[in-house]
Symmetry: C2
């Protein structure tokens, strides 16, 4: 990937060549990606295209507990199977999908998979994972290979966010985004689930389980200060659980202003100081998305 | 991957968490990797381990021209086949291997592959590539699956560097390292090969063809100024060929002092100025590997 970006002083930088790999200088591409607009404005992105796989399989499996489901995701990834997607939905998320779409899926923790490759390989991987699931009390393992059937099955996952919002349409969703080392996912998600189940708020869990990354949608009424505080308390506890397991406060959504307070615990003051020095060197007048990402109390 | 690094002011930074992905702040990991010691000293590296594949196949195939061999590497990568290694050796490199190891391999451009996965998948990929090779005048396609046979066959590639050095033991090797977008590899390698074949110096080509990255070993007598100049001329022309194809002057060996002069053409003065600003912000006294990577004439 290569970027063209306009820096605060008006310099237009190209961050690399079109070669697949390069050792030519500092990696400005990665520095600017994830800087959330604080170092410059990205004006062009060159991506490497991937060939569509010749075949894919979509599979789904039910579990008694989120821990079992997470254990299967972990075992699948650790077995070296090249699963292209593995998503975990808890029973509340499945209930939301049933309500939104008039479905009658079993309201239990569920894993969804996509396997890609040649026809034979995708099927071989599917059957290997079916076996792993059976070893962890998985039930109702189904898989489909036909194009329309795959689209129909994956729709369950694709529409999960909207089904979650629709569950209590008068409420807002606070969306959390912790990510932990894969080996810790089952523990982190189990601890979080106990917390969420004990809350008076409706909470849905959806995880990119293959990455150790999971989101919860905490539905709250923004006009009720008590509900907002409860949502924040849950988010806060989950972040601290993740950080205590050497995870991150944000797997993919970014820092913005909401996660700034966790960065010192996650990365240490020295890292934040280094980030602030880079920010000050490239944007001395602090004109690019000021007040974001780096806490204001960090001194350079 | 996470680093611990000591910065010029003595700050010890941790560049990330142990989560597989994170959006928590600037990517200091990637910034420090490839900075060639100019921003700090890496004192700890945490890597994610990969599971060894359950099966692998090693294959080899001969070609009339380096262009045909490169075309097969390109077609293989573009076909979506998940080849784990694809290496191209030209006829001079094969001659060096024959001389060093008493082998009698056909002295023609040669591709070597490694395929990984389940047993069925690795074999399936192998046969797909055999078909691609046949479409590009490939001959003598062989593959092995047994552990000792794989080791024996891959040894040819593994010992290529030493065989190259041994070819003319009184000479030194200047090793080049350009990398181009994969679609341009066949052209770049063909143009380079004409240049190398026309030189009085012995030149060997070895390519990480799947990445579009190739090395030449140019053997020269360092006591002969004329030979050194000829080696530099060849290197220079290959770098300019690669840059004219939106490639890089260094795919993996780094900049050091030797490649500094190409960075402006590859990345533009604005990118170099940005790098120098980062260097000056983190190392204001220029105590970390001074004089490397960023050309001295770059002004901040």
């Amino acid at each position: 990937m290569v970027l063209q970006a306009v820096l605060p002083d008006g310099d237009v930088v190209k961050t690399g060549s079109r070669a697949r790999k390069s050792a030519a200088g500092y990696d400005l591409t990665r520095l600017i990606i994830g800087s959330e607009g604080t170092l410059g404005v990205i004006t062009e992105v060159t991506l490497r295209l991937q060939k569509l796989p010749s075949h894919s399989v979509v599979a789904m499996c039910n579990f008694q507990t989120v821990k079992d489901a997470a254990d299967v995701a972990i075992a699948t990834m650790h077995s070296g199977i090249q699963v292209s997607r593995v998503e975990l939905l808890d029973e509340v998320q499945i209930r939301a999908i049933n309500m939104a779409n008039g479905k009658s899926l079993p309201e239990v923790p569920t894993l969804m998979f996509e396997f890609i490759g040649t026809e034979a390989y995708a099927l071989e991987q599917t059957l290997l994972v079916q076996k792993i699931a059976a070893e962890h009390h998985g039930s109702d393992f189904v898989f489909v290979e036909e194009s329309n059937a795959k689209e129909e099955l994956w729709k369950i996952r694709k529409e999960a966010l909207w089904a979650g919002f629709a569950m209590e349409p008068d409420r807002q969703a606070m969306i959390t985004d912790v990510c932990v080392p894969l080996s810790g996912l089952a523990e982190c998600i189990s601890v979080s689930k106990q917390l969420l189940d004990a809350s008076p708020l409706t909470c849905l869990v959806i995880a990119h389980a293959g990455d150790g990354n999971f989101h919860t949608f905490i539905l709250f009424d923004p006009s009720q200060e008590e509900e907002r505080r409860e949502a924040e308390r849950l988010n806060h506890l989950m972040v601290h659980t993740a950080l205590s397991m050497e995870g991150t406060c944000t797997g993919e959504h970014g820092v913005g202003t909401g996660k700034m307070k966790y960065l010192e615990k996650e990365l240490g003051m020295e890292s934040l100081r280094t980030m602030k020095r880079i920010k000050a060197a490239l944007d001395p007048n602090n004109i690019m998305n000021p007040g974001k990402l780096i806490p204001s109390h960090v001194c350079i």
